[in-house]
């Protein structure tokens, strides 16, 4: 039982009430909403050919949108709606987490419910429908006492499919701020914590099977007119819902919510800030695995209280700037622009996590390459790899323009594998991150950028509008500002990418604090 002696199992178990509770809440709410919309629509459409075709077509199109994209699309949509609602009706709502997840998942649940309900109702024998009319039923009575009961088995099959889909897809709601079992999976993938990944997958599968079986029990009870079975199934679902509400109610209301994006450095920094807040007697919790575009909006809307972002990211993404400015000018201007949105730029942590062109040290020395300018003449014969977004980012456009870069081939890769690919010579150059610990591990070298084509990427702490005047918060975070240099952060990141108990973000954050606290 060595496998389960790993303390990460008990750490995973510790998160279960929170993650599972949120997962059940969001998926069952979405399923209930999906049913409430789909069932009346299917009933209305059963005798209308045009409406039927339109509905099924629309639902099919929704189904072809990948789950992650559908969830991500709802966030900006709701953000815009919330702004409209605030300016027109004087009240806003949170476009973060629960609401977009529920709406997207509800939409996702519609196809099987619509299709099976329509098929089930159309499958009712015409002679039976005529008999219902003949004994004097109104269309409504015919629907409720004859057609729906007879279509029930087919309808329930659709509802069960929808339930399994929704519970599975709900793991993807983590990046838009909804805590779910996906938190295990996203955190685990980023920090190479396979125990978490496995735990997340298994618990989502068990939940899906449980709900499916409870629905089967209800169906069986309804079909065989066994009230006991139907009630047992209903009670099972009710218990599931109640059980997930209990920890939510007893959980202490945390004061500060710390956001983290979907990579290891962010998990470590959010753990570090949480530890500092707790040490100062403030309560804190983390909202991890947030998408890069979601997290800034969440801060601006006060859905999270603080997080670490990078100057270059804000410059290019949030403020759509493509001009290259000296480091200090960027920082000053960002501070002013952020202040207009009531967001506080508390300060820099002391290191940069910039994009940089990276290649093996030996090869660079052989070719006499020290900077990107030296690389440019060789580029036509080389291949390059980057993460999924780099080639569509303004930095890449800037680099190409400044140095006249043109590679033989460009590939997109999972960031974790990129460094190994460069070290093994599978690709010649990668767009790495300057704070990544793997640069040292694989003996790679960061090429200089003499023309400053890549904007500065200082890591800095941002505070939500509602924390503008929060002196206790500022005091708790003050010891971190300017203290984390690039070497320390690289080592922390390297530790976090390990695959054992000392590589959990919490453990690495403690190590990091000891390191900078003793300086």
């Amino acid at each position: 039982m060595n496998l389960f002696a790993d303390p990460r199992w008990s750490e995973a178990l510790g998160h279960l009430p929170d993650y599972l509770g949120n997962h059940v809440r969001v998926s069952l709410t979405a399923l209930a909403l999906g049913l409430a919309v789909s069932l009346p629509l299917a009933i209305a459409a059963r005798n209308r050919r045009a409406l039927r075709g339109a509905l099924l077509g629309l639902a099919s199109i929704v189904q072809t949108v990948p789950g992650l994209a559908l969830l991500a699309l709802f966030y900006p949509l709701l953000l815009a709606l919330a702004a409209v609602s605030l300016s027109w009706f004087g009240f806003g709502f949170s476009a973060f987490g629960f609401l977009p997840a529920v709406l997207a998942l509800a939409l996702y649940s519609m196809l099987p419910v619509l299709r099976n309900t329509i098929t089930g109702l159309q499958g009712v024998d015409a002679a039976i429908l005529e008999a219902a009319q003949g004994v004097g039923m109104t269309p409504r009575q015919s629907l409720f006492t004859v057609e729906l009961p007879l279509a029930l088995p087919v309808m329930m099959a659709g509802i069960r499919t929808a339930a399994v889909w929704v519970i599975g897809t709900a793991t993807l709601s983590t990046p838009i701020g909804q805590t779910s079992l996906g938190n295990y999976i996203f955190a685990g993938l980023q920090t190479q914590n396979w125990v978490f990944v496995l735990f997340g997958c298994l618990s989502a599968a068990v939940l899906a099977l449980t709900v499916d079986q409870l629905l089967a029990l209800i169906e069986n009870g309804l079909r065989n007119r066994s009230r006991v079975r139907a009630m047992l199934g209903g009670a099972g679902i009710a218990v599931l819902v109640a059980a997930t509400l209990v920890p939510a109610m007893t959980r202490s209301q945390t004061n500060y919510v710390i956001g983290a994006k979907t990579f290891a450095e962010q998990y470590v920094l959010s753990a570090l800030m949480a530890q500092r807040l707790r040490a100062a007697g403030l309560s804190a919790s983390s909202r991890e695995g947030l998408g890069s575009n979601v997290i800034f909006g969440a801060l601006a809307a006060n859905d999270i209280d603080l997080y670490v972002d990078y100057s270059g990211t804000l410059w290019a993404n949030q403020f759509q700037r493509s001009d290259i400015r000296p480091r200090q000018e960027v920082l000053d201007e960002l501070k002013t622009m952020l202040a207009k949105q009531n967001i506080t730029l508390l300060g820099e942590l002391g290191f940069e996590n910039a994009y940089a062109l990276v290649m093996p040290r030996k090869r660079a020395e052989q070719l006499g390459i020290r900077s990107i300018a030296d690389l440019a003449p060789h580029a036509a014969g080389m291949s390059m790899a980057a993460d999924y977004e780099f080639f569509s980012r303004p930095e890449w456009a800037g680099l190409k323009k400044a140095y006249g870069l043109s590679f033989r081939a460009q590939r997109q890769m999972q960031p974790d594998f990129m460094y190994a690919a460069a070290a093994s010579g599978e690709v010649d150059v990668i767009a790495g991150y300057t704070s990544d610990g793997l640069i040292a591990k694989y003996d790679l070298v960061v090429l200089a950028d003499p023309r400053h084509a890549i904007p500065p990427y200082d890591a800095m702490v941002l505070l939500a509008p509602k924390r503008v005047g929060d002196a206790a918060l500022r005091a708790a975070l003050q010891p971190l500002l300017g203290k984390i240099d690039i070497a320390v952060m690289r080592e922390a990141n390297l530790r976090a990418s390990g695959n054992d108990a000392t590589s959990s973000p919490d453990a690495v954050a403690k190590w990091l604090w000891e390191k900078i606290g003793t300086k």
Binding site: A131, T138, P149
Partner: protein
């Protein structure tokens, strides 16, 4: 006319969309027919003769385009179709029972729609189970698929009679049954018709059945009413088609008479 007519068709016409540019198909063409109170009328015709359409016009499962139909003296166009159907019994081809409801649930459906109290419905169901000669203990709570064809059709008859209608419409009620069951059920229904003072219109394609059960027979072909009358009156009809329809039962009777000699005379 012997008694007041309970159902009356006057110059009734009905067409259907033939689909795919086939134009309108005439289902019922200028039919006038009276059904007297207490009468058992059989409507005989082949498929496509319009006999089933004629039956459905009476309880407004289909609405007429031309002419007038009155039921118990009232023009059906002025009646709520739902209420009309609840006061007319209807027996469907091969039962038309609701497969998810028990025998009792099927029989009690119209009283339930009419809002009878539960204990009255239960008592009425028991009464009807006895009336159609089913066994209370054995059949009352069965589902339709657990019954034989004959038993199902008995339930169908009981369901039609549940709300104590004066009129019963039957759409080829015994067509799908084996000859013995069919005979027994026909006789039993004929007896109920008499005892309860019902007025019955039965659709059938079987002339022998019509002669054996009905007081009067109406013959339809191509949407038109060809002839009507007692078997004796029909046999005097000069119409070739009517003669043809009557030839089969006659031949059957002759051959059966010859093949089954009585009193051991052979």
């Amino acid at each position: 006319m012997p008694a007041a007519s309970l159902i009356s068709y006057a110059h009734v016409g009905k067409t259907f969309d033939g689909g795919r540019g086939a134009g309108r198909v005439v289902a019922v063409d200028d039919v006038s027919l009276d059904v007297a109170e207490g009468e058992f009328l059989a409507v005989v015709g082949g498929s496509g003769s319009g006999k089933t359409t004629l039956l459905r016009l009476a309880n407004r499962l289909i609405d007429a385009e031309e002419g007038h139909i009155t039921v118990e003296g009232q023009d059906v166009r002025n009646l709520d179709p739902i209420g009309l159907r609840r006061r007319i019994g209807y027996v469907f081809q091969s039962g038309g029972l609701f497969p998810h409801l028990s025998v009792a649930g099927n029989i009690g459906i119209t009283p339930k729609l009419l809002g009878w109290p539960a204990d009255e419905i239960a008592a009425r169901v028991d009464e009807l189970v006895d009336l159609v000669r089913l066994d209370r203990a054995q059949h009352r709570d069965r589902l339709p698929h657990e019954l034989s064809g004959g038993q199902r059709q008995r339930v169908g008859v009981a369901r039609a009679l549940a709300a104590k209608p004066r009129i019963v419409l039957m759409d080829e009620p015994f067509g799908a049954l084996d000859p013995l069951t069919r005979d027994a059920l026909g006789d039993d229904y004929r007896e109920l018709h008499r005892r309860l003072g019902l007025t019955t219109v039965m659709i059938t394609h079987d002339m022998t059945e019509a002669i054996l059960l009905a007081d009067r027979i109406a013959i339809m072909r191509g949407g038109r009413l060809l002839a009507q009358g007692t078997p004796a009156e029909l046999s005097d009809s000069g119409d070739a088609y009517v003669g043809e329809l009557l030839r089969t039962p006659r031949r059957q009777a002759e051959r059966l008479g010859a093949l089954l000699p009585r009193d051991g005379a052979a």
